[in-house]
């Protein structure tokens, strides 16, 4: 479904990704693991076209998307739930959700999708008239995921969705990701929460200093000595 082939990405003169290649098949949950600064966010931002690769290509369903303007990526069926939620703080919860459904097809089904999202997050329905900036961290994450779902995505990319959440909420978020995946949406997840994500994903890639150093199924990586040492401190 998504093929990232040998991308090099720079911030100005500084190279942050080196020949990163990976792929995602339809229906999978794929995880990008890595420490802070390993290049997880950069990879996701490059798929979103917020950054352009200097070399390499990104294909989605057989079409090159690496040089599309960033605002057209969502129309391809890829939605990016950004790190830190990035809701529109002075808009209501409902307006935030609506902002996910601006493309013609999503707009056409807006009322229907909104019901679906409210079904998934009854809490958001209760607070739909509240300004997004006044929500708690967990509620904001729900709203951000809901906003992403409003675009009726084929591929949903989560950039560190558990960041800054209480452990119990982290569980909820991962259950939710699984649930969304079960409804037919392919998932790309960037995380530092190694054990939980490896337990639920189909495959994972480990990034280190902007390079992919390991790949495998969740189970393989959980038993990998290098992963154990680097992330779990065992």
């Amino acid at each position: 479904m998504l093929k990232v082939k040998g991308i090099d990405v720079f911030y100005g003169d500084l190279q942050v990704l080196w020949e990163v290649s990976f792929h995602i098949r339809e229906g999978e949950i794929v995880v990008l693991l890595g420490a802070n600064g390993a290049g997880k966010s950069t990879t996701i931002r490059t798929i979103s076209s917020m950054l352009s690769p200097a070399r390499g290509s990104i294909e989605f369903e057989g079409r090159r998307i690496d040089h599309l303007p960033p605002h057209l990526i969502i129309n391809e069926g890829i939605v990016h739930v950004p790190e830190g939620r990035r809701l529109f703080p002075e808009m209501t919860v409902e307006e935030n959700l609506i902002m996910g459904s601006l493309a013609p097809e999503a707009k056409f089904k807006r009322a229907e999708t909104l019901e679906y999202v409210y079904g998934l997050f009854p809490r958001l329905k209760e607070r739909r008239k509240q300004l997004a900036g006044t929500l708690s961290g967990g509620e904001q994450q729900m709203a951000a995921i809901g906003r992403g779902l409003m675009s009726l995505p084929k591929l949903m990319m989560f950039d560190e969705p558990s960041l800054g959440l209480a452990p119990i909420l982290v569980q909820d978020v991962f259950h939710l990701v699984k649930e969304i995946n079960d409804s037919g949406v392919t998932i790309l997840l960037s995380e530092q929460n190694v054990i939980q994500t490896l337990g639920m994903c189909d495959r994972a890639y480990v990034l280190e200093n902007g390079r992919i150093v390991l790949e495998g199924t969740g189970e393989e990586l959980l038993n990998n000595d290098q992963v154990k040492e680097a992330f779990l401190g065992i």
Binding site: P69, P70, R86, L102
Partner: protein
């Protein structure tokens, strides 16, 4: 007491039009993060359009609204697209070079107006220009009342647009978080162009509304740019509700200054407020209301 009420009435009425000018500037401020220092000059252009239409075609200034507003919307879009947006892509020592560009645009517009119309004072003298009606002993200027009502109407339409349409919501979203807006499929460059157009159209409407009351000359833009700036600071940068309140406050303050201090000090009152706000309430009225 009657003098005081009369002063307040005059202040509120002109304040409505000031709000219209301030909202345009604050919208642009919110989305682009820059102060448009050509704002008053855009109003001047709209006033000359109104003047020409009146002089040659005998169109009423209120009818000219329907020509001046689209014309200025178009002009604003062009300015943003071809003069301001290209600057974002230039790495410059000065991140404020867009603001400097607006200063340049303001000067060029003023000088073009001077070239075409000379520095002479022009006026549109409509039959109702000096008409007034009385409630008790308080007089209400007819053109000011019309201006106030139309300003209210446009403000209401603008709010409906910003709150209830996808394009309006996209403008607010871009102002609040440009990157997140881009991820949601909003073309922020297009939004900046449309916003500058809307801001220009709003200030154009203020120009038409003031035309029956004010004398027109090429340099009239400068003071109005400053007024808009004062209103924007007073209301809190980027806050539309703040701009409305700020506009009315400035109108009342100027009116009080003209009555109790002296006509010549009218302008000064606005700047005294400006300085006081910056010193004692940085962030403007927005800080008080959280809107």
């Amino acid at each position: 007491m009657a003098v005081f009420i009369q002063t307040m009435v005059a202040g509120v009425l002109i304040g409505g039009v000031y709000s219209l000018i301030g909202i345009g500037m604050t919208l642009i401020m919110g989305v682009m993060g820059i102060i448009n220092l050509a704002h008053g000059q855009l109003m001047m252009v709209s006033m000359y359009i109104t003047y020409v239409l009146y002089h040659y075609l005998h169109l009423d200034p209120y009818v000219s609204l329907f020509i001046a507003m689209p014309a200025l919307f178009f002009l604003g879009c062009l300015l943003q697209k071809y003069f301001l947006n290209p600057l974002i892509k230039v790495d410059s020592v000065l991140p404020e070079n867009q603001v400097l560009m607006t200063v340049g645009i303001g000067i060029v517009l003023t000088e073009i107006a001077r070239f075409i119309f000379t520095s002479d004072y022009k006026a549109v003298k409509t039959p109702y220009s000096s008409a007034a009606f009385f409630i008790g002993s308080i007089s209400f200027s007819v053109p000011m009342c019309i201006a106030f009502l139309i300003a209210l109407l446009f403000t209401a339409i603008l709010f409906w647009f910003l709150l209830k349409t996808d394009l309006g919501r996209a403008i607010r979203a871009t102002a609040q978080d440009k990157e997140a807006a881009t991820l949601m499929g909003i073309d922020s460059e297009k939004i900046t162009i449309i916003t500058f157009g809307i801001g220009s159209a709003l200030v154009a409407s203020a120009g038409c509304l003031l035309m029956p009351i004010f004398y027109l000359f090429p340099d009239i833009g400068g003071p109005f740019t400053l007024k808009a700036f004062v209103i924007t600071i007073l209301g809190g940068l980027g806050s539309t509700v703040g701009a409305i309140v700020g506009g009315v406050v400035l109108g009342i303050a100027e009116s009080l200054g003209a009555t109790y201090i002296g006509m010549g000090y009218k302008e000064m009152v606005g700047f005294v407020i400006f300085v006081l706000v910056l010193v004692f309430l940085p962030g403007g009225l927005k800080r008080l209301t959280k809107i």
